[in-house]
């Protein structure tokens, strides 16, 4: 791929036991909204952490914008799963979003005017201005999720890796996050999102990675969301098969998709 945001090459990651990612290999485009889907425990979070260099792969490598991660870390923003931190931490929304301005080399410096402006803009973008000084423990789950997104925005990165940003978020917030993502895409940013809701994947993403320890499929939603791929990834569970069937119908008759939404 000429313009490649993330290149994952023969990646295998383990937590000491059996591999959680096995020989995963793909290249992702630049400037698109990319979804990573797969069942629970299929290694999605592990993939993200390995890409971010938080986990050491047992074999294979990752390149970002054709470079080693260490060279361009600051151009990559990571939005961890919301439950991965303790929200009882004594800090305000502003404090947390300010962490998006932290860099390895400025930790010992005071924050400057530019940082403050960027932080305020980022808070504004996710619609949390009125909660700016509120302690993060006193936010709803969806608001906490937006704090994480604002922190990533404040980082002014080019590649965003988000672990399930739509979990516990209501419909209104989901669509406002979605339009934010669209805006980021229009600015040429690449966004990689772990997603769970199969019903919405074809609407949300330009490109998909379907994972279950191994890479099952990658490509446009039309290419990936076939009955065969989904059965390979999710197995033959009854409820899922029903969903799969409806998804395939949607793909086959895209005109009727809109009618079926309501």
């Amino acid at each position: 791929m000429e313009n490649c945001s993330i290149e994952v090459h023969n990646l295998t990651t383990t937590y000491g036991g059996a591999p959680v990612l096995w020989d995963v290999d793909f290249e992702l485009p630049v400037g698109q909204i990319i979804g990573v889907i797969g069942p629970n425990g299929s290694g999605k979070t592990t993939l993200l952490k390995t890409i971010m260099g938080l986990l050491e792969p047992s074999s294979g490598f990752v390149k970002i914008f054709n470079q080693d991660l260490d060279k361009i870390r600051e151009r990559v923003a990571y939005v961890p799963q919301r439950e991965s931190v303790d929200w009882d931490f004594p800090a305000s929304v502003y404090d947390i979003v300010m962490m998006g301005r932290y860099r390895k080399h400025n930790l010992f410096r005071r924050t400057n005017k530019t940082d403050i402006d960027i932080v305020n803009q980022s808070i504004e973008k996710v619609g949390l201005t009125e909660f700016k000084n509120r302690q993060i423990a006193q936010l709803s789950g969806g608001q906490q999720q937006r704090v994480f997104i604002a922190r990533a925005l404040a980082q002014r990165a080019e590649l965003y890796l988000m672990d399930e940003p739509f979990v516990g978020v209501d419909a209104a917030t989901e669509s406002s996050i979605l339009s934010l993502l669209q805006e980021m895409k229009n600015d040429g940013k690449t966004v990689l999102i772990i997603h769970h809701d199969l019903q919405t994947v074809s609407d949300y993403f330009d490109y998909l990675v379907l994972l279950n320890t191994r890479l099952i499929a990658k490509g446009t939603p039309q290419e990936v969301l076939t009955k065969e791929n989904l059965t390979n990834a999710y197995g033959g569970q009854l409820t899922l098969l029903a969903k799969v069937a409806s998804l395939i119908k949607e793909n086959e008759f895209p005109i009727r998709e809109k009618d079926m939404d309501f």
Binding site: D70, R73, Y78, D86, F89, P90, S92, M99, L107
Partner: protein
Amino acid sequence: MMNDIWILLTASLVAINAALLGCFLLLRKMALVGDAISHAVLPGIVVAYYFSGDKTSLLLLIGATLTGVVASLMIDFLTKKAKIQGDASIGITYTLLFAVGMILISTWLKGNVDIDMDCVLYGEIGLINLDKIIIDGNLYIGPMAFYTELFAFFCIGLTLVLGFKGFKLLAFNEDYARGLGINTTRWHYVLMTLVSLTTVVSFEVVGAVLVVGFLIIPAATAQLISKKLNRMMFLAAIFGIAAVVIGYALAIWLNVNITGAMVSVSGIIFMMVLIIDKFFRKQQVSKSLNPA
């Protein structure tokens, strides 16, 4: 009277040092690691004392502090490399090191007046004035323990002020910090070294066991009512000092163990703040439910 003031000043410094670091231990869910380090420095103290014959030597300070750091290295090794459950790793490490320390005391330091099991348990805060610093032959400027604590206070204060952003980020979201390329291991061990230093310098004053009360309880009390990290640190220090002063007065009045009284008072303050805070929250809720 002068003796009382020196005791209170020294113990307050112990409380401040411990409370400031305790905030970070608590927020990083590492309260037990603080516990472990404070026990694990014992063999270091005994060995260094055995070779230097002096409770306040630099050798002892460095040697014992390193033992605490080794303990935290050992815990990290057991959890990360050997994949032992976190609490088990902590338990194994500190009981082992503490037991070694006890054996050393009972063999090498048999009958020694400076370091015995009583001192290990709750320090000898009433006796710190025996080790005086006198300059110019007759000018008494306070007990040695006060100056060691003051030294530790400057180390801790300076590190926490300079590294405030780093420690804050580490405490809230370590993965994110690593994602930014920050060497979180280095930050972690700086913090562990400071905790170790605190327990070593406080050993003689409040003992290896009860210093944990100074590390954790004031910080936990402050967390109940703090919305900002720097406020939490400030309040933790205040709660620590309050426990020292009230505990000391109670101990003199009731003629009980001084350090024990201080930590008990600290616990009581925690309970009081907890209850008052819960009560006020409930009132706020009922007020917002029926505003009239």
